[in-house]
Each structure stands twice: as structure tokens, then as C-alpha cells.
């Protein structure tokens, strides 16, 4: 199952790299009459400014994947640092960090993202990455913390403490490698979350809609009443890409959980 997921991810990475070879049109340039139906010349027709929609799907993969992966990475880093420190130190540090984690866990993510973005003046990709990561790291931190609690009393940790290693060394050099499978699982599910988060924010017009991503494509399709005008392919294509790429990341994340948790494995 994870091979299938990884296959899809590699497929999209190829599209990202070889985008200029897959289509001859610039996704940002007017190349034909607006609102054309699909033809051999323009496989998915053209948008309201006469730009080639197929090119936008191809080139949109770049920013969508970039935002998804970097947001996922940032979420994972925050979750790992907060979760490990909270679990390792315990006591008052843990109480403070756990409370912060719990607060972010209960406050609904999408509304928080929407509210924060609605106040932002600059809404470039970096802003989107920061907003999603800031609002969505908490469930990962909770999982890392509980694994830390079960690991920190193992003998090898005790041995290092007796040997006089510093706390930071024990946390990041000795304990971190033992958590890699959980961290990777969190990373892959974070990317899935980030891709959908970007699409949702862009769909509402809360990102830089002049940049081409699958999310902003859906925004333009919606504001041009694409469905009412029968241009369903304009909505179908970017959404299908999001769903496919999202499923790929979900498959990999789920497989990691299944491999490391024998109870979930098929008998």
C-alpha cells in the first residue's frame, strides 16, 4: 500500500520537474480566446483570461506541492520539539506546554486559519505556510509527547544520564532516532492536512490568488461560475489532483502506523 502512495507522490514530483516539457503554454499568459471548451489544442480549455487550464494544472502542482511539503515539515518540527520537550521534562514545563497544545487542539483549525488570514494584508505562499503550521501542529505534538513518556524511562536513557550527557543531547541524539517512524507518519499526514488547508484558504480567496495553485484554480473557477457555464472540467481537474496527492500521503502515513503498530497489522 505504501508503494502505491509513494508511486503517486513520485509521479507528481516528475510533473513538478518536467512541467515545461508536458505543456507548451505559459500558465500565466493569455494564449487563446477566453472560456474555450476542451480541444486538441487546449486539453482542458481556457479560463476567463484565455489562459490554458491544462498548463495551470501542470504548473499548479509546483506551488501546491511546495506549500504542502514545507507546511508539513514546519508542522512536524513544531510538533516534535514541543512534544519531546514537554514529555521529557515533565513537571511545570510539561503543564505549560501541554496546556498550549490542548488549547490549539480544541480551537477549530479552519475557522482560526480563516480569521487570522482575513486580517493579513500580505497573503503570499509564505503567509499561508505560516498560518496553517501555526494553527495545526498540536495533534502531532500530543502523539510525540505520549511516546516520549513511554521512552524516557528506558535503560539507555538512564545510562546516558548517569554518564553525564546533557538533556538536549539525550533528547535530540538518543531519543529522536527512536521516534522516527512516528515523526514520519506525522509528517505525511501533516502534508495531507496542509494541501487541503491551502486549497480551502485559496478557495475562499485568502491566499495570493494571482499565483497558480490547485486551490487558486478552484477559486477562479468558482468566481467565474465555471459550473453554471458547464465548464466542469475546470473544477474537476485541480480537485482530482488534490484528492490523488492527498490520498498518496494518507496511504504512506497509514502504512507507517501499521508497520510500527503490530496490532493494526493484518494477521
Amino acid at each position: 500500500m505504501w508503494k502505491f502512495g509513494l508511486g503517486i507522490i513520485i509521479f507528481f514530483i516528475f510533473i513538478v520537474i518536467f512541467a515545461p516539457l508536458l505543456t507548451k503554454y505559459d500558465p500565466n499568459r493569455t494564449v487563446a480566446i477566453p472560456y474555450q471548451s476542451p480541444s486538441t489544442e487546449h486539453w482542458l480549455g481556457t479560463d476567463r483570461m484565455g489562459r490554458d487550464i491544462f498548463s495551470q494544472v501542470i504548473y499548479g502542482s509546483r506551488l501546491s506541492l511546495w506549500i504542502g511539503v514545507s507546511t508539513g515539515l514546519l508542522m512536524t518540527v513544531i510538533a516534535t520539539v514541543v512534544g519531546m520537550i514537554s514529555g521529557y521534562y515533565g513537571g511545570i514545563t510539561d503543564r505549560i506546554l501541554s496546556t498550549i497544545t490542548d488549547i490549539f487542539l480544541v480551537i477549530p483549525g479552519l475557522p482560526l486559519m480563516i480569521v487570522i488570514s482575513s486580517y493579513m494584508k500580505v497573503r503570499g505562499p509564505l503567509m499561508v505556510i505560516l498560518v496553517i503550521a501555526f494553527t495545526s501542529w498540536s495533534s502531532g505534538a500530543r502523539m510525540i509527547r505520549s511516546q516520549m513518556l513511554s521512552l524516557k524511562n528506558r535503560e539507555f536513557v538512564m545510562a546516558s544520564k548517569v554518564a553525564g550527557e546533557s538533556d538536549l543531547y539525550i533528547i535530540f541524539v538518543e531519543l529522536l532516532p527512536n521516534m522516527l517512524s512516528l515523526i514520519f507518519s506525522i509528517f505525511f499526514s501533516s502534508v495531507l492536512y496542509a494541501i487541503i488547508g491551502e486549497a480551502s484558504l485559496s478557495f475562499l480567496g485568502l491566499s495570493d490568488v494571482s499565483k497558480v495553485t490547485w486551490g487558486t484554480m478552484l477559486y477562479w473557477a468558482q468566481s467565474a461560475n465555471a459550473l453554471l457555464n458547464g465548464m466542469w472540467y475546470w473544477v474537476l481537474a485541480p480537485g482530482l489532483c488534490i484528492a490523488l496527492l492527498g490520498t498518496a500521503f494518507a496511504l504512506v502515513s497509514f502504512s507507517i502506523d501499521e508497520i510500527t503498530n503490530p496490532r493494526l497489522r493484518a494477521r
Binding site: D102, I107, V115, I116, L204, L218, I242
Partner: protein, 324 residues
């Protein structure tokens, strides 16, 4: 008692966090919020209008930050959210009062149905995980969870609304004629079907996965092996031995998800122009109606927090161990 006190403290802290965020965000933006908002309406802004806007936002110049904060808290707890710009001169609380019932009705019913269906499928999926049916269920629930649900809504709208014309394409009831009594009820149900199906399908994957994983953990327990060894009926083991114990975490998740009812349909409501809280938030964001944005965020947070608190109490009541 200590447990309940802890949960109450957490409730208060989180509520203040949400409130403070609401208070700080407009003030973090560079410049004078009142002038910035009004400048969107044109270059020549009346000084009196700016002053009125400052009062509406609670950012009067002669007041310090702390007394602004106290005023803001006072206003929030008395339900005085100010006047909506978008629906000027309607009060924000009136906009909320008309939109909240639509959301609770639509999303509440969809959440219950999705939970029941998903849990049932999850029981089966966990039980038959080695069979092809189990794998199909697993992969389709992973797929369902990865689909942007507003996109699913758009496709349904196109197919069943525009193309086939089976369902209405916007609103919560027919506005073409004045309806009363049973006709109104039927119209409301008719308009809710498509958004509701979207919501059910979109959240189904999560329920299936939760229940499936619970089932699988329970199936590894010794008493299941014992029941099998005794030669009990398979269906009997699945329902009465495994599912009965596996359902507890799902019920907790269900209780908490009831709190997300207010915010759960944000984008679905946008796609179907359904006049609930999510659609109002969308309209408020587009027209920079900050009092309405603040009030909606406050209500969304409050509902989640209350659901959480209730779930904590129920848990303490059901499970003596957590009372500690």
C-alpha cells in the same frame, strides 16, 4: 473533584485565549484599523466616520489598551458584538441568531447520520480486515478523508443540481413563494439533502477509520480468542464482544465532534449558498466585516469548548478512574 476543577480551569484559559486572539489580531495589523477599513470604500474618508468606526471597533484613541480589553470582554459577555458592516444597520447578534439554527440543523443531523453509518462500516471493516471487503473499505475511507469536501460539494452541485436538476442549487428554502407549515418544512428538507449528503460522505472516512482501528485493537484481546475457542457465533462475537467495547472511543469522538457542528460545514455552506454560520463567515471575510468575523469565531470556539467540557464531565461520571 480535582479532575473536574482541572477541566474547568482549562475551559476558562482556552476561552480567554480565543477571546484575546480576537482582541489582539485587529490591533496587530499596522496602522489605524478604522482608517484602513474605511479606506477600502474610497480615498476621501470623513473624519467623523473614522471616529465612529474606532468606537465600533473599540479602538478609541483616548483609551489605553487595558481598558479597551475590559470593554471588549464586557461587550462580548453581554452579547453586544456591535453592528455588522455587511448588513448595516443590523446588529451582529441578530445576524448570528438567524444563521446559527440553519447550521445546527444541517450539520447536526449530518453528523449523527455520518457517525452511525461510519461506525457501522468501521465495525465491519475491522472485523473483516483480512478480506477484500475490508481492504476496499480501508482504501476508500483513506480516499474520502483526502478529498477536499468543498470540491465534492461542487461536483454534486453540478451533477445533481445543474445537470439533472434533482435538487435546488442554493438557499435553505424556496424564496420564490411564501411558504408556511408543512410546505415550508418540506422545502427546508429538500434544500438540505444535497449539502447534507456532501457532509456525510466527507466525514464518513474518519468515522470508519476510528472504529476500524478500535475494533482491531479489541480483536487482539484474550477474551475474543476465548469466545472464538468456545465456538460462539461469529456475528455474536463481532457485535456483543468486540464492537461493544470498541465503540467507547468513538462515542467520545462523537461527543467532541458535536462541538464542531457550528464550524463543520464552513465551505459546504459556501458552495451551496446555505445561509448558516459558515456562509456568513465567508461573506464577512470577503467584505471585511470585522465585528461579524469576531463574533462568529467567538461562537465557534465557545461551542467546541462547551462540548469538550460536557464530554469531560460525562467521562468522569462513567469512568471512576479519571476522577482520581
Amino acid at each position: 473533584m480535582k479532575y473536574i476543577a482541572n477541566r474547568l480551569v482549562f475551559f476558562v484559559i482556552t476561552l480567554f485565549f480565543a477571546l484575546t486572539l480576537n482582541f489582539i489580531l485587529p490591533r496587530l495589523m499596522p496602522g489605524d484599523p478604522a482608517e484602513r477599513i474605511l479606506s477600502q470604500f474610497g480615498p476621501n474618508v470623513d473624519e467623523r466616520a473614522v471616529e465612529a468606526m474606532r468606537i465600533a471597533l473599540g479602538v478609541e484613541k483616548d483609551k489605553n489598551l487595558f481598558s479597551q480589553y475590559v470593554d471588549y470582554l464586557k461587550n462580548t459577555f453581554t452579547g453586544n458584538f456591535g453592528v455588522s458592516y455587511l448588513y448595516y444597520p443590523v446588529q451582529v447578534k441578530d445576524v448570528l441568531a438567524t444563521s446559527i439554527p440553519w447550521t445546527i440543523g444541517l450539520v447536526g443531523i449530518s453528523t449523527v447520520l455520518s457517525f452511525l453509518l461510519g461506525t457501522f462500516l468501521g465495525i465491519y471493516g475491522g472485523w473483516s480486515r483480512d478480506k477484500p471487503a475490508g481492504s476496499v473499505l480501508l482504501i476508500s475511507s483513506l480516499l474520502l478523508r483526502s478529498i477536499p469536501y468543498f470540491w465534492l460539494g461542487m461536483l454534486f452541485l453540478y451533477i445533481f443540481g445543474y445537470r439533472l436538476g434533482w435538487f435546488p442549487i442554493s438557499n435553505a428554502y424556496s424564496t420564490k413563494e411564501t411558504l408556511t407549515g408543512l410546505k415550508l418544512v418540506l422545502s427546508v428538507i429538500y434544500h438540505a439533502i444535497l449539502p447534507s449528503i456532501t457532509l456525510i460522505i466527507a466525514s464518513l472516512g474518519g468515522w470508519i477509520l476510528t472504529m476500524r482501528n478500535n475494533m482491531i485493537s479489541i480483536l487482539a484481546e484474550d477474551y475474543i480468542t476465548l469466545a472464538e475457542a468456545k465456538g460462539l457465533d461469529k456475528k455474536h462475537i463481532m457485535i456483543h464482544y468486540a464492537a461493544r467495547n470498541a465503540i467507547l472511543p468513538s462515542i467520545t469522538a462523537f461527543g467532541i465532534s458535536l462541538g464542531f457542528v457550528v464550524s463543520g460545514a464552513l465551505l459546504t455552506e459556501v458552495v451551496y449558498s446555505y445561509p448558516g454560520v459558515g456562509y456568513q463567515l465567508y461573506r464577512a471575510v470577503i467584505s471585511q466585516d470585522f465585528p461579524l468575523i469576531q463574533a462568529i469565531f467567538f461562537f465557534i470556539s465557545l461551542s467546541v469548548l462547551i462540548a469538550n467540557l460536557l464530554m469531560d464531565f460525562i467521562y468522569a461520571f462513567l469512568d471512576p478512574r479519571v476522577r482520581g
